[in-house]
């Protein structure tokens, strides 16, 4: 622009490149360095144990020595071939988790629909009740259930274990489903109803598709939580049918069994795969926040 150069000529010629003050640069850099260091340390701390276990699972030795003396898949083979008790426990945990998760989903979906958008104090209170297992030591609940079943004379069984697991997975499903419902525009259902949709039809065609992701995320988290659970399974597993985490705890505690490493490897890999799939399908990371 002709203007700029004419006026530039009128200014004192200044092309002095101003430098950032030492204090400012030091401050900025030290902050960046400190944050990165701590964050890196945290990330490492999160990652390292998993990596260590995975490497150890391929050891050719008989102990948990790290680094391993050599590598082999013997422990995975031992897991597959020589560990009927572990496989049984694994299957049991899967069954319990699947059934508990399914029951929870139905119950929690219904409850979330009834309560999610109400403002009354009693609705909040009931919600708090349904969410309470998330915050309180479920160990106490496990013990309490043990006492209940003993007192009621039913003793422990597969179904008592399932009952306990429903109690602790329902909150997860409830939480994510309620959150999805709250985010759903109420005008959508109102339009559907005004267009003549009956309650069931509106539910099936409007509500369900919209809360599906939240529901699926909650169900998945609930499933994993049940599968991994120690607190309730600790008290409700009987000697014959122990949940996998409990059995695994026993073999580690008693003789540092290296099969636990292989088992861990399998579980980590399985969880990782499921997680990546579910992230695609339902975006679970959003719902964990």
């Amino acid at each position: 622009m002709p203007e700029a150069s004419a006026l530039a000529a009128a200014l004192p010629a200044g092309n002095i490149r101003a430098r950032e003050s030492v204090r400012s640069a030091w401050e900025r850099r030290s902050f960046g360095a400190a944050m990165k260091l701590l964050a890196g340390l945290s990330a490492l701390l999160l990652l390292a144990p998993t990596v260590v276990v995975l490497i150890t699972s391929f050891t050719s030795g008989f102990s948990l020595k790290f680094p391993p003396p050599g590598y082999s898949t013997r422990w995975y083979q031992a897991l597959w071939n020589d560990s009927p008790e572990l496989i049984d426990a694994l299957l049991l945990s899967l069954k319990v988790a699947a059934i508990a998760c399914s029951v929870s989903t139905v119950l929690a979906l219904a409850a979330a629909m009834a309560l999610a958008r109400r403002r009354e104090a009693w609705a909040r209170a009931i919600e708090a009740l349904f969410l309470s297992p998330l915050m309180l030591p479920t160990l106490a609940l496990g013990l309490a259930l043990l006492m209940l079943f003993n007192l009621a004379g039913t003793g422990l069984s597969f179904w008592t274990l399932v009952a306990g697991h429903v109690a602790i997975t329902a909150p997860y499903v409830f939480r994510t489903t309620a959150a999805s419902l709250v985010q759903m525009d109420p005008a959508l259902l109102e339009s559907a109803r005004s267009l003549g949709a009956g309650p069931l039809f509106a539910f099936r065609t409007v509500t369900l598709p919209l809360v599906f992701r939240g529901l699926a995320a909650g169900a998945f988290i609930g499933f994993m939580y049940s599968f991994d659970n120690v607190a309730v399974s600790l008290f409700l597993s009987d000697a014959r049918s122990e949940a996998l985490p409990i059995r695994m705890w026993h073999i580690i505690e008693s003789n540092l069994d290296v099969r636990a490493a292989a088992l861990s490897g399998v579980l980590i890999a399985g969880t990782l795969v499921l997680m990546l799939v579910m992230e695609r399908v339902a975006g679970i990371s959003r719902h964990l926040k």
Binding site: M1, A4, A18, E20, S21, S24
Partner: protein, 364 residues
Amino acid sequence: MNPSSSSGLPVRLAGVQHRYGDSVAVADVDLLVQAGELVALLGPSGCGKTTLLRIVAGLLRQTHGQVHIGDRVVDDLPTPQRGVGIVFQNYALFPHMDVRANVGYGLRARGEASDRIDDTVDRMLDLVQMRKFAHRRPRELSGGQQQRVALARTLAVQPRVLLLDEPFAALDKNLRLDMQIEIRRIQRELGITTLLVTHDQEEAMSMADRIAVMNAGRVEQFDRPEAVYDWPGTRFVAGFIGTANLLPGRLRRAGTGFTLTCDAGGSLALAAAAPCSRDGAAMLSVRPEHLAFGAAGGSGPQATVSMVVPLGPQLVYELTLADGSTVKVTVPRHGEDARVQAGERVALRLRDGAPAAVFLPEVA
């Protein structure tokens, strides 16, 4: 605060470019803002005006070019060291501090003595007339009040350059006018160089000493508001600022002036032709209020009045030319022009002394 002690510094942008990967946000901008001047960066969204503001602020590092503040090149300086003050579009007041604490924040950060801080905060609050609200929290204030606090906070640290990012966007219309006058007054009083980003042309026209009209990362015209309005430098500016009637035709020099022979028939006499003044095909851009019409016949383009709409103090006429194109003409409702009915035939002419811009014709 003495006006002289905080007089602003000139700001110069030299060949500034900014790319995001393949897309160009700012393309080769050269701008010189005088000390104490208020320049509006005006343009549609996505034209790069906010990006440019952030570059001057130091919140963004441009990919090419230099930013000069005063006589120094400031590209290596982080924001706090550039002597700029920014007011964000959403004010960015610290929600967990009251008004006093917000306004005094910059001073506390610079380690000023607490009694000096109190003094300055008081003066700033008086300047923006928010003294009564000193102990309120941002969420207890209205939009206009929050903006004034944000301004006070920024001015408290005596910046040499003030940067405003669409500051009035969130206010309703009546408040907007008041705030515009307010900020203009303060800016003039302090003599602080100011860059104002806006997409509202009326705002730019009323507040700025000069307007930089931007489009797709380029500055299309940088001039005083009247010049931008009367003599738009490009077709974009002609269309963006106010309304413009576009009449294609052939330009010919005629004595001391020019004649445009319209494609739609008839011809118009022009005193000047800018930016395009060579003989040949051209496009005339003329504002509705700069046209007039008289009885049918004569040398001007012949037209038929298709609609008459009273709009406040004006009458807006829509006319159809011989080739079917339409032209808008506005006339004061209580002026001496005779009222014309729809369906009447008239001849167009340029009002005496009215400006009109001439551009190269559209490339098909």
